[in-house]
Amino acid sequence: MELDFSRQLHYFWALMPEMILCVCGMLVLLRGVSGKYKEQSVSTSGDPSFTGGAELGWLALGGILLSAMANGWLYGVEEIGRDSMIAVDGFRLFSNWVLLLASALAIMVSFAYVYRQRLQAGEFYGLILLSTAGMMFMTGARDLIVIFLGLEVMSISVYALTAFNRRDKKSAEAGLKYFLLGAFATGFFLYGIALVYGATGSTNVYDIGHVVSSGDASSTLLTIGIAFLTIGFGFKVSAVPFHMWTPDVYEGAPAPVTAFMSAAVKAAAFVAFLRVFMVGLDGAYDTWYPIMWWLAALTMVAANLMALVQSSVKRMLAYSSVAHAGYLLVAITASNQAAAAGLLFYLLIYAVMNVATFAVVIAVAHHAEQRMQVDDYAGFGWVQPMLGLSLTVFLLSLAGFPGTGGFMAKIFLLQAAADAQLWYLMVVLVLTTIASYWYYLRVAWFMWMKPQDADGQHDRVVVPLPMRIALVTSVAIVLYLGLFPGTAIDFARESVEGLGALSGAMPGLGQ
């Protein structure tokens, strides 16, 4: 099937996965208000996999599955021309897989949390689905307006999700902080779009690319516009001078939301970031290359240093996610085909391992946000060996230990950086990775090498069925991609083929 975007109907086909997600999100919302979920008992007995709001969770997972099927179907579809508002290319479809996987995992790990905290399940899962749809709009967009709207759909749902736990003051504080700073960054982003439009006369990334590389764009406007876009994106991916909100928000938000936020929001922002800068602003590479270089270096160094001294696991993971943003910024700085493929591969593995790490954190915390300190993990491994082992695998992967997916992801990033001859950044990347071993392995050390503080403190860990599925899947993905990365990286490379090229025919997706 061919898509000709001069006919509006064809946007309908191109946006099939997003629309399915939106419809399912609304269904979950409706089911949530029409069903009776109020009479949940406060007791923690009962299986959260099937009682309480679980039905809505499964419904949401079904929606994601349907959307994934639609995403697979889009591979058989070919677009005519490459300047439509919505891209139907491998880059978008691959990032859709990542986003759908991240949000499916995040939903699977929320069951117990939603049940125990008696959150309003309909709104919770509904907002996750709608937010995922927003991310997919953002990654699929080839127009700055659509990117902006996708960003807003995503952000506003995540603001609400952050403050979702009404019984927790920290959650409300985190939500407010995130909302205010996010709105501020949105202003910058929008002003950046306006300035780039002023410089190039278009909001279409592809047209912007043509104008910028032909040198017709007015350079002052473009430079300020690029700076503002960088601030907007930098905030969303939490790169270092704009990361101030990250630790507080990640710590205050409900743990499943933190998992979702750190994996999916970051992935969506990075994909859009790369598309705008690599396709649209490639002609101005010399302008933004030093900004990105310093942003990447600063993020890697500062985040890893600050993560070293954290005693709360959630805060440590927040800084770790900032550090990963630094590694991914290396890909943006390199801005070549290998970097785009490496970015996709990294986002895939990062989303999986990060959500899964938070899954174990949720299980250990048991009730809401208790037991978040590193000390609380003492002796955990011996009491709950399966959970302990999987957490160890995820931590090793986050650190980038050979044999895990995180290691291969970093190798591909390094390869891309070498292609772009970013030698110093490569050195920084390797050194900060080695430094990061300390804080990741400290948790593992507490888990296996220290005795429990009090007898039986880890005996009542509830791991409902969906979380079990999520953990098994994640361990499998992390180890498989670590040992046999070939298929996935080849797929990522195929997906980005022709991404940066402004002319020439789009390689058919249907092959």
């Binding site: 946007y11 907002l127 709608l130 927003g134 307006i145 709207l149 759909v153 007015s218 002052t220």
Partner: protein
């Protein structure tokens, strides 16, 4: 005449914007903001975007600002909040940065001169054909139908989020 009006509206808009951040009370800020939005509507009229100007007055200067005013009055925020505001160095830094950016933009305009936007001619043709409302409507429901629909989702998300957070019973 048009340029005199333009400078008047532009001056009002900028002065109002400075007033928003400098005003001592929230009510004052709000009224300055109404001034800015009204002046913006004036510049829209000068650009022959009459429909936009009307919408700007009705929606922004009218509805949204009145809502702001209600909220501020209901929350009883009409006190002097000067103490809580960061003065001195922060004001210098923020106005400095704004000034630098404004300077760059002014220099840019000074070198290239004021030109018609890239879409100016086509917009004129559209307005001649469909009228001011029609020109916007046609674009909104054809070229920009995707962003338009996404805006619908955005509003839904915002409403759901607000409801979740503002619900009395937890």
């Amino acid at each position: 005449m048009a340029s005199v009006l333009f400078y008047m509206f532009a001056g009002l808009a900028i002065g109002g914007a400075i007033g928003v951040v400098m005003a001592k009370s929230p009510i004052g800020s709000l009224l300055f903001m109404v001034t800015t939005l009204g002046a913006m509507a004036g510049t829209f009229v000068l650009l022959e975007a009459h429909f936009l100007a009307a919408i700007q007055i009705i929606v922004y200067a009218g509805a949204i600002m009145v809502l702001f005013l209600f909220v501020i009055m209901l929350l009883n925020l009409g006190h002097d909040y000067q103490k809580d505001l960061k003065g001195g160095a922060f004001a210098v830094i923020s106005f400095g940065i704004t000034g630098v950016i404004a300077g760059f933009l002014a220099r840019e305009l000074g070198t290239t001169g004021i030109q018609d936007g890239p879409g100016g001619a086509s917009i004129d043709a559209l307005i001649a054909e469909h009228g001011a409302v029609g020109a916007i409507a046609t674009e909104l429901y054809t070229t920009y139908v995707v962003p338009f629909e996404i805006t619908g989702i955005l509003l839904l998300v915002a409403i759901v989020g607000a409801l979740v957070l503002a619900k009395k019973e937890v």
